[in-house]
Symmetry: C2
Subunit: 293 residues, 2 copies
């Protein structure tokens, strides 16, 4: 029979009751995180009012996302990505002053040991795709060139796959390179125009996004990590503004400031110097780094 | 350089941007669930402001909870349990009218095929623990006895383990039984006084609760499923009010109405009838079922 449920869990007191159990936690940060997670999850459950079957579906989904993850596939990061959580965490950790280049997500395909290359080198080792000269400057927020800035760039090939996704098919370190600026802060290298590609959609996250009526495409982009002594490291992409998925990136990575056009250049002499067919493409973008405070 | 980010994801518009992607979802219930989950998870991230390392810790934790789960162990249900989510879902799905017996969580140890037993039989097959006569009535909310009510009861043994956790150690179907009431709605059977036991704490959920300064104990209880034609099925426990963990059940299952004392009985003649040693225990509780509407 119903009695006043003093001291015990109820639908009404659920948040306070559960939080009170870790009131003596000696890790204040963990305590804060769990306080908020319990508040928000209980609020969600109270608003959704899941049936027992729906709750079990959620348990099975979360378990399947874990089971799909291994050393090569991280389905929980993918879930975080498609829910916009990865970009939100990125935004919170990379609030930049006016005028500075903006960040976006790192993604799973960076390699720490990509080769250092001479400025101007061609990072495309598989001879596929539309040839492009990528160039620009690395500057501080006052517009002064940054010397010895390190530019770590990587991209998918013309088939939409990174070298690490096609070991034995693509040459090792295809479409990757590390460049260092000189006194003038300038960078330039040869690459191919990136293409849009699908995030892995053969797991539970793909099933979820399909059920939600969402597509799995990421608009074409080059990845960058820019670093220099005394400056905050910048992890970002530069996107093709004409990509059909530019306004619907499956992982919400696009920002207006990260768009950069591909200009068609008709200049046989310059093409020959670059060992390109004429006409070719140029994509020019300046990166603005923030001095460490 | 920073530009108005029209149409793209920002820290400020993150919830609306992510939700807008599934605006054409043809499953309104899934759409509603994901709307709420995105709102609450983004609200949590904005309040917590996790570092990238903390985000990665969360990814690793969620993955580990998945990896710990298999056909025999469901670590995500355990996570739901210790966060009070299982009890909240149970509460939402089992709002009872005044006077009706209240529900609590099912737990993982129910067996669908426990043996039917004669009223009065002893469900304890391993001869351990304090002997107890469990008795009472099954009534409707007007106090009328319910005939042919099915009482499915199970409990841990005196060592704190269910038979299914100790296959080959405990007899099969130890401390389980299905009983049916007669005209008078009465039930009685012989069992042992339950003891408190620990939820499985050798996985990531155990690591979390320890880090939070929480214990893993569940106060002593008997599990019940009560069902009868024309009545809502009741899934519940009956707890020992004197258990040291009665106010701190690791999974928040206790309700004031689910407490039932163990009375010591000194009656050599009755003990002999029951094939008990004198003195022995009696625990008497009436269950009140709700007529289906």
């Amino acid at each position: 029979m119903k009695q006043p449920n003093i001291g015990f869990f109820t639908e009404e007191n659920s948040i306070e009751t559960v939080k009170s159990r870790h009131k003596d936690c000696d890790n204040p940060r963990l305590k804060k995180i769990m306080d908020v997670m319990i508040e928000k999850i209980h609020e969600a459950v109270k608003e959704i009012e899941p049936t027992q079957d729906e709750w079990m579906e959620a348990i099975k989904f979360l378990t399947a996302v874990g089971h799909k993850s291994d050393d090569w596939r991280q389905e929980y990061i993918l879930l975080s990505d498609v829910m916009g959580v990865s970009m939100l965490v990125d935004a919170i950790n990379n609030r930049k002053p006016e005028g500075a280049s903006e960040s976006t997500v790192l993604g799973p395909f960076h390699l720490a040991d990509a080769p250092e290359r001479e400025m101007g080198e061609n990072i495309c080792l598989d001879q596929k795709g539309s040839q492009v000269l990528v160039k620009g400057r690395v500057l501080d927020t006052e517009g002064t060139p940054i010397k010895d800035a390190k530019i770590d760039v990587w991209q998918a090939n013309d088939d939409g796959f990174y070298d690490v996704q096609q070991k034995g098919i693509q040459p090792d370190f295809n479409l990757r390179g590390v460049f260092r600026t000189g006194e003038d802060g300038k960078y330039w290298f040869r690459a191919v125009k990136p293409v849009h590609y699908s995030i892995p959609d053969d797991g539970p996250v793909g099933d979820l996004t399909r059920a939600l009526g969402r597509h799995a495409w990421r608009p074409a982009h080059l990845h960058y990590i820019l670093s220099a002594d005394g400056f905050e490291t910048l992890v970002t992409h530069i996107f093709d503004p004409k990509d059909p998925y530019i306004e619907s990136d499956a992982v919400f990575g696009v920002k207006a400031s990260l768009l950069c056009e591909y200009q068609k250049i008709n200049d046989p002499e310059r093409a020959e110097e670059l060992n390109f067919k004429n006409p070719f493409l140029i994509s020019e973008h300046d990166f603005i780094l923030v001095r460490k405070s």
